[in-house]
Amino acid sequence: MKRNNLLELGVGIFMLAGILGLVFLGLRVSGLGVGVPNDTFTLSANFANIGGLRPQAKVTMSGVRIGEVTNIQLDPKWFDAKVTLKLDSKYDGKLSNDTTAAILTSGLLGEQYIGLTVGGAPDMLHDGDVIHDTQQALVLEELIQQFVSNMSK
């Protein structure tokens, strides 16, 4: 019987190690804990060019993550990119109407994300509103093109 208990203990530790490993992979490796809470509200913003922005990219304010990109579509009316953002509902009604959204890049080769900056208008953004003041992504080829055409003048 003692031998059997030892065996059960071994298998129990093995299963526990597997579960703990999965928790480690979830929290530490894929950063699940710092994700968006369930309570969210959505905003949308139109960008002239989104560069390499992809769904699930983070949305930050002052570098702090407050939400993520849920959907990217081409707006058939203006032919620009319509990006839907899902933000923590803590900030619902706290961001001013003239908040600006810019597509930024983390590091030289890092992924692209959206940075929000609040303005000073008295009216606030609510669920479903649109951010009007946006800044498109920096596309390296366009920058080089501009640089070259300025040089040749």
Binding site: L7, F14, M15, A17, G18, G26, V29
Partner: protein, 260 residues
């Protein structure tokens, strides 16, 4: 001429019937776990198949993570992108290396042992005598082993990934001097729990089932001589490894093929 053609036909029929037998064998044995005694048999097999494989999986995971970090660093540092080391190590481990290498090790460590064990039982007519006294060998011998392999390979895979990422940390951060914060944060930015971690676990579930199935079936179906046992053991390792590598491509194409 007709001799060759009929040899081809015989080979085809043999292959088909052995596939059919293997399928029936799987269906008959996989649905007979839930009994108290069956649980204890399963526990014993979990110990043999899972717990005893932990050491080899941990050591290989550690070394593979370390090598990955070393190789990745020498390439990435050329682009000045050594911060992306964590991302590279974690993604390649979680998506590919952990499920595949753990399954290959598992086939060599546990699969061959299962085949030899069941094969020897068959050669010494233990299986036949069990049937004689009214004990179903599928239920008593095969089902606990199948379930043990199915459950333990995903756990081994997760452990492999964790240790590999730690090994990458040891080499990348402690030895080569990648900044600790960027190792983890780049990893967290790029690894998705559902798309990467869970897909890796799903892969290992499939591999666990297939490897144990092949091992147990080869043991159950072998020619009961010493030569037959040695052939079946070899076949287990060869077939299981090939099946893992082939299935890995199919699963990867299904999971990541449309992500671009």
């Amino acid at each position: 001429m007709t001799g060759y053609i009929s040899a081809l036909g015989r080979a085809t029929l043999d292959t088909l019937s052995s596939i059919g037998r293997a399928g029936l064998f799987l269906i008959q044995s996989i649905f007979c776990l839930p009994s108290r005694e069956g649980f204890h048999l399963w526990l014993r097999q979990m110990h043999f198949v899972g717990v005893m494989s932990v050491a080899i999986v941990l050591v290989s995971g550690l070394f593979i993570g370390m090598v990955l970090a070393l190789q990745g660093f020498t390439i990435l540092v050329g682009f000045g992108a050594d911060e992306a080391l964590g991302q590279m190590v974690a993604l390649s481990l979680v998506r590919e290396l952990a499920p595949v290498v753990a399954a290959l090790l598992f086939a060599g460590r546990a699969g061959s042992a299962l085949t030899a064990e069941i094969g020897l039982m068959k050669a010494t007519e233990q299986l036949t005598s069990m049937e004689m006294i009214g004990v179903d060998p599928l239920r008593r011998i095969v089902a606990p082993r199948l379930w043990a392999g199915f459950v333990s390979l995903p756990i081994l895979t997760v452990l492999f990934g964790v240790v590999g990422i730690w090994g990458g940390y040891l080499v990348g951060v402690d030895w080569l001097g990648v900044y600790k914060g960027s190792y983890w944060s780049n990893m967290q930015d790029s690894v998705d729990f559902v798309d990467d971690v869970l897909n890796g676990v799903i892969k290992s579930l499939v591999f666990g089932l297939v490897v144990t199935w092949i091992a147990v079936f080869q043991g159950y179906d072998l020619v009961p001589t010493s030569e037959g046992i040695s052939r079946a053991t070899t076949r287990t390792v060869v077939y299981a490894s090939l099946a893992v590598l082939g299935l890995d491509f199919v699963l990867t194409a299904l999971m990541f093929g449309d992500l671009g």
